[in-house]
């Protein structure tokens, strides 16, 4: 990422920020890919990477990540100022 460029804005779900008291729903984070953005997010919110990623590393099965409203993987490029949405899947029924 170019130094001085606008960071991405990571939009976090309510159920995730509830695990980290004080964390806002929108967090600026830097990185050229989704993986790098999550790494930067984890520097700001220690432990949040473990909530989003599984072994592999891979995005957890019931977590979806979107970059500029497109479904993303860890390798997906993130442009400066992009919106990155973390969306829990509509899972369950129990």
């Amino acid at each position: 990422m170019t130094e001085g460029a606008a960071p991405a804005i990571v939009h976090l779900p309510r159920s995730l920020v509830a695990l980290f008291p004080g964390v806002e729903r929108r967090v600026p984070a830097e990185g050229a890919t989704v993986a790098e953005v999550i790494d930067d997010l984890d520097r700001q919110v220690p432990g949040i990477r473990n909530r989003l990623l599984d072994a592999g590393p891979s995005i957890r099965t019931h977590i979806n990540i979107y970059v500029a409203a497109e479904r993303a993987s860890l390798d997906t490029p993130v442009t400066p100022g992009a919106d990155v949405h973390v969306v829990p899947a509509v899972s369950g029924g129990r």
Partner: protein, 357 residues
């Protein structure tokens, strides 16, 4: 000194705490805690009084939670609870047990992790996963889960674990190496009745004398061991069924344990004849006594899961169990009479009783 009680309850919809006094008659419910995560086990760190909760979220994975203010606020971590990027994914933590300043967590798929920094970071106890039988471990109905963790009372290097459909193991060197501890335990569902491993231990507990006497409720019977699990002796005779999940040991009398037989593995897994009862022995399993006084005598087709029975350390001992249909029962006379102290909870996965100063 005035004593307070806290019953710690794990459910698929979060943890709960029932606050009570030493009379054990009036209880007040708090919860759901842990953000409504599925919580398989809640226990107490003995040297600090911190609450520990083991669970896993459908969305956010496994974690061990910690509260230093009796459940008002919590932190959580799974840092290090991993088999590595090439290993199997860990879905949930099933048991959390603290002893000797170390916290242990049992997970699914079966493995053991420990923390030496109060649960902030975790390390894999790789010696168990490296056991030569590991490639042949097969999951039971509840998954391939390490659910029982029994630390020796004084020897920090000795520890027993129970893994469903695999059996019991012991380490005497702090987790570096492990040996199977299933001799004398039946595997009635297997082609070989007494294999080295593959027995379906449901719950492993240590007797009050604190070293070599162990008990287990198994898929196929109830057992005792006088030598740390090297040899087991079946003590099912006198019980209405060989099948059940929970077991709890008296805190002072090594001959007293409680169990809750269910009608059978393939017959619904409810209390026999729909008549609720807890069974206890005072002679190490030579004889068993049924007590259903205060419990539903009919039409109670409920189950009780492996972690859902507990004892306190008051005198007389309080015994508690939670059902798969959300009722919590208490006895303040060592299991002779019972009363319901909570209803309409989610299915109860675990119960622990803490006596607070």
């Amino acid at each position: 000194m005035t004593q307070r009680m806290a019953l710690l309850v794990g459910t698929p919809k979060g943890a709960f705490v029932l606050d009570g006094d030493a009379d054990r008659h009036d209880w007040r419910l708090r919860g759901p805690l842990c953000q409504g995560w599925p919580i398989h086990d809640v226990s107490v760190e003995p040297d600090t009084g911190a609450l520990l909760a083991a669970g896993g979220s459908t969305w956010y994975g496994p974690a061990v939670w910690r509260s230093e203010d009796l459940g008002a606020t919590w932190t959580h971590s799974s840092e290090g609870i991993s088999y590595g990027d090439d290993g199997p994914k860990i879905t949930t933590a099933w048991n959390v047990t603290a002893a000797h300043g170390i916290i242990y967590a049992g997970v699914e798929p079966a493995g053991l992790f420990r923390s030496r920094d109060r649960g902030r970071t975790w390390e894999h106890v790789a010696g168990l996963t490296a056991h030569p039988t590991r490639p042949e471990w097969q999951p039971g109905n509840g998954g391939l889960i390490l659910h029982s963790i029994v630390p020796h009372r004084t020897d920090v290097d000795r520890l027993w674990v129970g893994i469903s459909a695999v059996g019991a193991f012991e380490t005497t060197d702090g987790g570096a190496t492990w040996e199977t501890r299933n001799k004398g335990v039946r595997a009635g569902f297997a082609p070989v009745e007494y294999p080295e491993f593959g027995q379906c231990v449901h719950k492993l507990v240590m007797a009050a004398d604190g070293g070599e006497h162990l008990y287990q409720q198994n898929h196929c019977g109830v057992y005792r061991s006088a030598d740390g699990g090297r040899q087991w002796e079946e003590i099912t005779n006198g019980l209405p069924s060989e099948f059940g999940f929970p077991m709890a040991a008296h805190p002072r009398d090594p001959g007293t344990v409680w169990t809750i037989p269910l009608n059978g593995a393939d017959r619904g897994r409810y209390m026999p004849d729909g008549s609720a009862a807890v069974w206890r022995t005072h002679d190490g399993g030579d004889t068993w006594i049924r007590s259903g006084k205060g419990l539903p005598r009919r039409d109670a087709y409920v189950g009780v899961l492996r972690e859902a029975m507990a004892v306190d350390r008051l005198d007389p001992v309080g015994v508690y169990f939670g059902t798969s249909t959300g009722q919590l029962y208490s006895s303040s006379d060592e299991g002779r009479t019972w009363s319901m102290i909570a209803d309409n909870l989610p299915p109860i996965w675990s119960v622990e009783a803490a006596v607070l100063a």
